[in-house]
């Protein structure tokens, strides 16, 4: 029964990984393959804040989130927007953005290696057991889960209860029509892209409290985020969040009752089933 709690904790971590990419792909229509590197950069920031200044790694978010936002805004404005402008159709934009962000990922990795070196980074923060119903859980994972829940709730409120969120969702559903009703699509896309990068950095800071990082693991997170975003339905943030929790629960179930070696296989079997039988994603809308 405690696999539910463990699964939810893992799902919370996955939600942090995926929600940033969902905004970038679902709204700004950029398949950002450098998303994982933003996450690792956030993790490095937290590591530095904790080891050099003995402050809570969650405080690093106060610095890395604005920097991540500004950096990703600049990336969209100067590197991605030209691609958007000249793309004659959706497919061409996908290809262009994939190639471009793929190269960007290598640039980020190179910069991080130059700044932090190539070794592993890990630290102990709140690595104490916390008992729920008699079972011990890592306190740092619980705190990261709480952080994830707060972020997801804020995101939900922003997107579904504010006018700004409405415009973002409109651009996600249909950018062409959104333009027709007077929404400044380039501006909203830039904002969503920047927000996605900032969320990735925040997620990285949170995950660094219990995972070991080095400059090269970004691609693993990008892959996970990609699977979750596509499975959840590209245009809806709620889909990504819910799918993250479903995946966390599924993987933990398989690890506990079947075989820990089959967790990745189970995740991808789920992915393939969704692609085969519900290609718009579990929570996606079928486009007319």
């Amino acid at each position: 029964m405690d696999f539910i709690i463990t699964g939810l904790l893992l799902g919370g971590a996955y939600a942090l990984i995926a929600v940033g990419l969902q905004l970038q792909y679902g709204v700004a229509r950029i398949m950002n393959l450098a998303n994982g590197e933003m996450l690792v950069a956030g993790a490095f920031g937290a590591f530095w804040v904790f080891t050099a200044h003995q402050l809570s790694p969650f405080l690093s978010v106060l610095v890395t989130v604005p920097i991540g936002f500004a950096l990703n805004w600049a990336i969209y404005r100067y590197l991605m927007q030209p691609l958007v402008k000249r793309a004659r159709n959706h497919g061409q934009l996908e290809v262009d953005s994939i190639l471009s962000t793929f190269g960007l990922a290598f640039i980020f990795v190179g910069v991080m290696v130059a700044m932090f070196g190539g070794e592993y980074f890990t630290y102990e923060y709140l690595a104490r057991p916390f008992r729920i119903l008699g079972e011990p859980y890592a306190l740092n994972r619980l705190v990261a889960f709480a952080f994830s829940v707060v972020v997801c709730i804020c995101l939900y409120i922003c997107l579904n209860r504010t006018r700004a969120g409405l415009t973002i969702r409109a651009v996600a559903v249909n950018p062409a029509s959104a333009q027709l009703v007077g929404i400044d699509v380039p501006r909203v896309s830039a904002f969503a892209f920047a927000m996605g990068g900032a969320l990735a950095a925040a997620g990285g800071a949170s995950l660094s409290t219990f995972l070991t990082f080095d400059a090269f693991v970004g691609v693993i997170f990008t892959l996970k985020a990609l699977v979750i975003v596509i499975m959840g339905g590209v245009t809806d943030t709620r889909g990504a969040i819910l799918t993250a929790f479903i995946l966390g629960l599924a993987e933990t179930f398989v690890a506990t009752y079947v075989d820990p070696g089959l967790t990745l296989a189970a995740a991808y079997v789920l992915f393939m089933l969704v692609l085969l039988f519900r290609p718009q994603g579990i929570f996606g809308q079928r486009t007319s």
Binding site: T6, L9, E119, E124, P129, A138, G261
Partner: protein, 421 residues
Amino acid sequence: MTLRMVHCVLLTMKQFWEEIEKMDKRAFLKSAALALAGSLYLMGVAQAADTIKIGAVAPKTGPLAAGAAITHWPNVRLWVSEVNARGGLKLKTGRVKIELIEYDDRTSPGETIKAVQRLATQDKADFILAPYGSGLNLAAAPIYAKYGYPQITSTSITDKIGPLTKRYPGIFFTLGTTTSFAGAVADILKKMVAAGQIGKRVAMVNVAAAFGIELANAARPIFKKAGLEIVYDKSYPLGTQDLSPIVKGAKAAKPDAFVAWSYPPDTFGLTAQAKIQGLNTKAFYTAVATAFPAFGGKFGKSADGILGAGGVNPDTPEMQAYFAAHKRVNGKPADFWASAMVYATYQVLEQAIEGVGSTDRKAVTAYIKANTFKTVIGPIRFKNQNNEKFWTVGQWQGGKFYGVSSTGRPGAKPVQVKKDW
């Protein structure tokens, strides 16, 4: 007076240029070019006479880059700086400084092969330091053999040493075999059982990647033969973000010993999870990266009693000098296992080159086969191109990772029973 001199110089220059104008410009340019080329060539020859080209290819990016950044590249840097600080390698023709040529193979065997080829044919390296890790060394072995370069490996652990040394007459192995690593753990557990310190139940997990799988496969029959009972036997994918189900499953099997054939991220992750979930066994082993200073740094006192792959005897004067020099040159500490062996293989190369007195690769290879070398980890003597004396298991004791089991190196410390977390 000065004004006149300047005037004279300017006049002379003007006359000189007028002369050139009159001359066939082409002829002038030709002769000028020849003179320039000639002087560059002479400079080049002079340069070549003063340096020895050493090539180095290893990951700077890619999955193994993090390990290479800790174990491989700092030792390259340290060795080159130490040798050049002494004035260079001593050949019969005089001292020559090392000119280091580095390549990043991006943890891709194809790139390793390309880089070695380039070092051999284009850069004309005199010697090439062995790559990092078993896979990349095995991939590059044919190229080393083709061009006659000695390949003194240090981070290559494999059970195929016999066939490989037969096929490649210039390859040397130093760090040991997969079976001996698994076997050493079995021996330690067997001794602890015989001494009544632990029971026979062993929970064994492994990462589903090359080395982890090999170790687990080697361990199963050896553990059984040693009278140990494997009560939990699972693998997990590399990069798993949540290891708590595995630790939970292992704990539920009520083991007396926990053995993880793990890679760095899961070495850290499993240890952290075991601590949180209170998986208390009197013997606790994680494989790769237990010997990293970062492991002791992360877990502090909790690391005491944890067994891991490798180990060294850090208390010898040579090792203490090596650690100090490593910290000074690289700004970070060496690890407690392969670092010293990597450096030792460079010492072997250095002593072989100086022993032969020239860059004759064939002579140097023969010299390596026939002599004993004095290195930071002690004397190394190759028997059929294999160093048979290496550390297999270490244990964190009092903040340092000491070797507790070896196939012939002195200074092993007694194994301590691990206390509860």
